[in-house]
Amino acid sequence: MSGQGAHLALDVPLRPSAAAVAPVDDEAALVERVRAGDGAAFETLVNRYMRRAFSVAYRLLGQKEDAEDLVQEAFMAVLQRVDTFQAGRPFAPWFFRILVNRGLNARKARTLRAVDEIPETAAHHGPSPERDAERTELRDRLRTAMETLPERQRTIVQLFDLEGFAGPEIAEILEISDGTVRWHLHEARKTLKKALAPYERSA
C-alpha cells in the first residue's frame, strides 16, 4: 500500500517483531518447575508474557478490564493444563493458543461494551482540520472494513499486523496450516486495501 493513506498513519511506531520477544532456552525448565508448584518460576513466565498477553487480549476484546480478566484466566489455565504441555515444545504458542481461544470465546459470549470510542492513543492532532478529517475518515473506513472481515481473518490480521506475530506462530496458535494463515491474510488484505483505495487514488 502506498499513497496518502499510508502516509497518514506511518507516524505510528511499529511494534517489535515477534522474533524480538521469542522464547528463550530456559522455558522448558521453567515449565517443569511450575509443574512442581514453583511460584518463582511461574512468576517469571508471568513477567515474561504478561504485557504481550494483555496487548493481544486487548486487540481481541477491545476493553481494558476484559483484557485484564482474559490475561488472568489464561495464566490460570496454564496451571490447570501444565501437565498437558509437551516438553521440548516452545511455551509461547501453547500459551497464546490458550489466550486466543479463550479470547475468541469471550468475544462471542459477552456483550461487549461499545468499542466505537476512539482510543486516546489513536487520536492525532494534525497540522490542519482537513488533515484531521482525513485521518478520521481513514480510521473509520479501516475499522469498518475490519468489522466486515470473517472472524478468523480479523484475528489473523490482529495477530500479524497489529501484534507482530509471524505466520508460523499464528498457525500454531490457531492450529491451522501456514498456508491457511497465508490465504486468510491475503484475503483480508484485499478487503482492507479496497477500503483504503480512495485514499491511494487521491495521493
Binding site: F42, Y58, V71, P119, A122, R143, D161, D178
Partner: protein, 127 residues
Amino acid sequence: METWTDDIERDPALTAALRGAYGDPPETEWDALRGAVMARAELPLARMRHTRRSPWQARFRALVPLAAAAGVVGTAFALGVHQPEPRVTAADRAQVELILNESLPDVSELVASQAGSDQLLDAAIGS
C-alpha cells in the same frame, strides 16, 4: 527451542494504517495485574507442590477408608465369629477318665447292658 520465521511478507503501510486506526493498547497497572495473577495462582501452586512432594501419600489417602472398614470387619470376625476351640490336652482327658471311673465304676457295664437290676439301682442312688 523452535525459531519462528516470519515467512509472510509484511506490509508496513497497512500495519501502520491499522495501528493508526486502533492505536496502542492502553497502559495498565502491571504490578496489580501481576499481583492478581499470582494471588489466584497461590492455591493451585500449593496443590501442585503437595502432590509433587508426596505422590504416594496422595494416592494412598484414598485407600484409608477402605483400610479402616477392613479393620472393623476383621476385628468383628475375630471377636464374634471365629471363637477359638478350647484346647484339651491328653492329661486333661486322662484326669476326666479317672474321675469318671472312680465315681461311676460300672458305667461301661451299664452302657453295654451287662449290669443286673441291683447294679442299676446302686448306680442310680450312687452307693
